[in-house]
């Protein structure tokens, strides 16, 4: 029985979203050089031995760039997954649990990758 205006207004504007929007653009820009670097790194080490790759990764500049790439990509992925879930999943339970899983997945991936890079770079 609610009027159309009441329905359209719903719970009102959340008054957020701009930070997320900006973060997504920022990580998108950062991802361009970082992913190019990653591809270059992989290509230039094609066929190299385990020791050589490990030594290159231990280089502080390489480690820093790798960490930056991991986090920039993970944040970007988390925002993107959220957008997709909110676009297509409308069942409340389904939506909330998927959003949680997306966060756990992105964070888990980033933390594990970070640990790997740190272990190599700190000589573990």
């Amino acid at each position: 029985m609610a009027t159309p205006l009441k329905r359209v207004r719903g719970l009102g504007a959340a008054r957020h979203g701009t930070e997320t929007f900006w973060r997504q653009r920022l990580t998108a820009v950062a991802n361009v050089p970082l992913v190019i670097f990653l591809i270059w790194f992989v290509v230039s080490h094609a066929g190299a031995s385990y020791e050589v790759v490990k030594a290159s990764l231990a280089n502080p500049v390489v480690s820093v760039l790798m960490l930056a790439m991991i986090w920039s990509a993970a944040i970007h992925m988390r925002i993107g997954l959220r957008e997709i879930i909110e676009d297509y999943l409308h069942n409340k339970l389904c939506k909330v649990s998927s959003l949680m899983l997306a966060t756990f997945f992105s964070a888990g991936l980033a933390i594990a990758s970070t640990l790997a890079v740190l272990k190599i770079s700190l000589g573990g």
């Binding site: 009027t3 159309p4 205006l5 329905r7 359209v8 207004r9 719903g10 504007a13 959340a14 008054r15 957020h16 979203g17 701009t18 930070e19 997320t20 929007f21 900006w22 957008e83 909110e86 676009d87 297509y88 999943l89 409308h90 069942n91 389904c94």
Partner: protein, 262 residues
């Protein structure tokens, strides 16, 4: 889940062939139209009826053909129209696969041999080609599309420089036909919370108006992951607009303003 398939009672059935021309009839003279029909009172599923329009007897626009069909063949065919020159926005529908105005589209522009006509996509249908625009209008009302000021009202008028007036070009021409919003996938999936390109273009029109004093409040009411940020810059809206406007650019401008005040 988003509903990708039509519900059972919306599945389209084959309809009636009203006036098939004689076998030896000149094919250039008779143009085939396949038109979506739905009557909520009949209790039947929607169907697509076929009509042939005599181009020697009918004007060049798709709206002319619809009027010709209604007058000469089937008076029950229902559609909206008023100005028949692209200023009222009432004859918007999906023609030959694109949302546009029946009155400004030449039948000759259609790519298909038969011209398919459906109501605006993803809207509840009142009857045949008439969609229910209640929610769309409520969303327009929601952005408060009028001048809001707090300074004392001037004796004569709120003044605006020529340059500031020019900022409204490409915005004020919108006729609220909803071709853009109903072409937007984001509006299809989340039209209950996402305002859609037409309404956001209007919101931008008031944000850009140099005389309006509630710009910040307007932005506050738009800042929402759904109301504004469901726009993923797919650009269907701009492609569809029969008035040649660019709602996607208007939305981008709103987002820019949001970032500016972060």
């Amino acid at each position: 889940m988003v509903q990708f398939t039509l519900p059972k009672n919306s599945k389209i059935k084959k309809g009636k062939e009203w006036n098939p021309p004689a076998v030896d009839a000149d094919p250039d003279r008779w143009r085939e139209y396949r038109v979506y029909r739905y009557d909520p009172e009949g209790g039947e599923n929607p169907r697509v009826d076929t009509y042939w329009v005599d181009m020697n007897d009918c004007g060049p626009m798709v709206l002319d053909a619809l009027i010709w069909i209604k007058n000469k063949i089937d008076p029950t065919l229902t559609f909206r129209r008023s100005c028949r020159e692209g200023v009222c926005g009432s004859c918007s529908m999906n023609i030959d696969g694109t949302n546009t105005l029946a009155c400004t589209m030449h039948a000759e522009e259609a790519q298909g041999a038969a011209i398919a006509i459906y109501p605006l996509p993803h809207m509840p249908v009142v009857k045949d080609l008439v969609p229910d625009m209640t929610q769309f209008y409520a969303q327009h009302r929601e952005i408060e599309p009028w001048l809001k000021t707090d300074s004392p009202t001037p004796q004569k008028e709120w003044r605006q420089s020529h340059e500031d007036r020019e900022k409204l070009d490409g915005l004020y021409e919108c006729i609220l036909c909803a071709c853009c919003s109903t072409a937007c996938p984001s509006y299809w999936w989340n039209g209950d919370r996402y305002l859609g390109p037409a309404v956001l273009l209007q919101a931008n029109r008031w944000v850009e108006d140099s005389r309006d004093e509630r710009t910040g409040e307007r932005l506050d009411d738009l800042e929402d992951p759904f109301r504004l940020y469901r726009c993923h810059t797919i650009l269907n809206c701009t492609k569809a607009c029969p008035k040649g406007l660019n709602p996607a650019a208007a939305i981008a401008n709103l987002k820019r303003k949001m970032v500016e005040r972060l």
